[in-house]
């Protein structure tokens, strides 16, 4: 299996990070990043800066890294997406420029992942917990998306009158088609790993605790045919292109929409932010449970049937018994 001499760890790996832990596997020239953003596992400005720094270092040293793997160090959470308290701050300050800047930094992140094959990199992500909004948008450009079975994901933005603005539409359409993108983005509902697999948004679902082995399996399978795989993935981008310009146009529209959010919308966003903080504070329930409540509040009638267009049980249904307490 091993074809090349083990690669020495790049020097830039020693750069200190607060919210990312980097590991190096010399056998496959594999860079692994584990994120642990405090207090909430989300894309804060500081976390975005650190990730962009890592990506910049990788791009500045072409050929050093051949595989990039991302996981989360936070039990039960992959990523909650955007920094909701920052959104509330900027929207209340009516600061379009800063919100646009934040959105563009997120776009730069997904764009780097989207163009990773051009840089000679194969990318794999393992999701072992909840991933919402921007967290899911960041997952989709990865070449291989692995979910552990208990992981859940969705785009809840519509619940507070927003939409996923950092690649959600582009990547969902490319991977799963218009109908799925419409359903996921316009419903705001959460999906299990299996439901996402059936919609082609996830490549591999493994049992809880088997994610690490799955990463190993993927890397070992890709490595001997890395050049061919990357060439094919580049060709795939021509076949079904996502352009930087369209990502920027969408994020600009996202910013304008965010600026028009009402007090009620912001209160819902705060409610979700508060739930995220609650989970970070050690509570069992967090943002996912809050989204289920919000879904329940806004669409009780529709949800009571429990049916979806795919004839599936709604993700939240099994948890709703808890709401009666």
């Amino acid at each position: 299996m091993k074809q090349d001499r083990p690669a020495a760890a790049p020097r830039w790996l020693a750069r200190p990070y607060k919210y990312i832990r980097l590991d190096w596997d010399p056998e496959f020239s594999l860079l692994r990043s584990r994120t642990c953003v405090k207090p909430i596992q989300c894309y804060s400005l500081a976390a975005l800066s650190e990730l962009n720094q890592v990506f910049h270092d990788v791009s500045s040293n072409p050929g050093e890294v051949k595989h990039y793997v991302m996981t989360s160090d936070v039990t039960g959470v992959f990523n909650f997406g955007g920094d909701l308290s920052l959104f509330v701050l900027l929207i209340r300050a009516r600061d379009v420029e800063s919100l646009k800047l934040y959105g563009r930094r997120c776009v730069d992140l997904v764009w780097w992942l989207e163009t990773a094959s051009q840089r000679g990199l194969h990318t794999t992500v393992l999701v072992q917990g909840d991933t919402l909004g921007g967290g899911l948008e960041c997952v989709m450009p990865f070449h291989k998306v692995i979910f552990e079975r208990s992981a859940q994901a969705g785009f809840p933005e519509v619940l507070f009158n927003l939409f996923p603005g950092m690649g959600g539409w582009n990547f969902t359409i490319r991977k799963a088609g218009f109908a799925v993108a419409n359903e996921m983005i316009l419903s705001g509902r959460l999906y299990t790993a299996d439901q996402l697999y059936r919609r082609s948004l996830v490549d591999l679902v493994v049992e809880d605790g088997e994610g690490e082995a799955a990463i190993d399996q993927v890397v070992r399978a890709v490595h001997p045919r890395l050049r061919g795989t990357l060439a094919a993935l580049q060709a795939r981008r021509f076949a079904s292109p996502v352009t930087y310009e369209s990502l920027l146009a969408i994020v600009d529209q996202w910013t304008e929409t965010a600026m028009r959010l009402t007090d009620r919308d912001l209160r819902l966003m705060e409610r979700l932010a508060r739930a995220q903080v609650r989970k970070a504070g050690g509570a069992d329930e967090g943002a996912v449970e809050e989204i289920k409540r919000m879904e329940l509040d806004t669409a009780w009638g529709e949800l009571r049937s429990g049916d979806t267009a795919w004839g599936e049980e709604r993700t939240g249904i099994t948890e709703w018994g808890g709401l009666n307490h």
């Binding site: 500081a46 701050l89 209160r267």
Partner: protein, 215 residues
């Protein structure tokens, strides 16, 4: 070049999040607090409000003519904030603290450090530091004030605005203030003033977190 407000958000992002990270703050936002601790918090807050305008006045009196727009902004803001200490008094009354007890309360060393820094900074560091104080306090009120008052209301079973009017109204009002503050901050172009504002915001976040911890 970034507009200064955006630059300030980026440069103080970590300190703002350190406020969020603090376990005492997390717990208070998630679960509220006991009535004893809430009384103490209001007693401490009284001193923030009571000294807010004098700090702004000190800053305005030292403001160079090159920053006259900030001096006028401070005048308007002082007008707006005048008398708000009475709102805190009313909330204290609702949770069983008489005005005499409130006025006799000796603020914590953390609160003395917060107010002491703000007077010193306006006097000796740079008069624009008052804007850093405002930024930190208004971020805390407009972003965290809402969830915090909801948690307090739930945990202490308070009805309507009784006992929470100061924090609750500032959560809404400071959103408006924040928009005004952004406009005036974007008129600050010199590095000396920008650095002073940033330092002041960081120090205010830091001391306010310590005040919260000590309650």
């Amino acid at each position: 070049m970034l507009p200064f407000f955006a630059d300030l958000v980026v440069r103080t992002d970590e300190t703002r999040r350190e406020f969020e990270t603090n376990p005492v703050v997390l717990d208070a936002v998630a679960r509220g607090m006991s009535v004893e601790r809430y009384r103490k918090l209001l007693l401490e807050l009284y001193h923030v409000v009571w000294h807010f305008n004098p700090v702004c006045a000190a800053a305005a009196s030292r403001m160079p003519d090159s920053h006259r727009q900030i001096r006028y902004f401070l005048y308007d803001h002082m007008q707006e904030e005048s008398g708000h200490e009475e709102w805190v008094m009313n909330d204290l009354g609702a949770v069983g603290v008489t005005p005499d007890v409130a006025r006799a309360y000796q603020p914590s060393v953390q609160m003395l450090a917060l107010n002491g820094y703000n007077y010193w900074a306006a006097d000796r560091r740079h008069p624009c530091t008052a804007l850093g104080m405002m930024y930190a306090l208004e971020v805390i009120a407009s972003v965290y004030g809402g969830p915090f008052t909801a948690a307090i209301k739930e945990s202490l079973l308070l009805e309507e605005e009784r006992g929470i009017s100061f924090i609750s109204s500032h959560a809404t009002m400071d959103a408006e203030h924040m928009a005004e503050l952004r406009v005036v901050l974007n008129t600050v172009h010199d590095d000396e003033a920008r650095d002073a504002v940033t330092e002041s915001a960081i120090v205010n976040f830091h001391h306010f977190t310590r005040v919260f911890e000590a309650v």
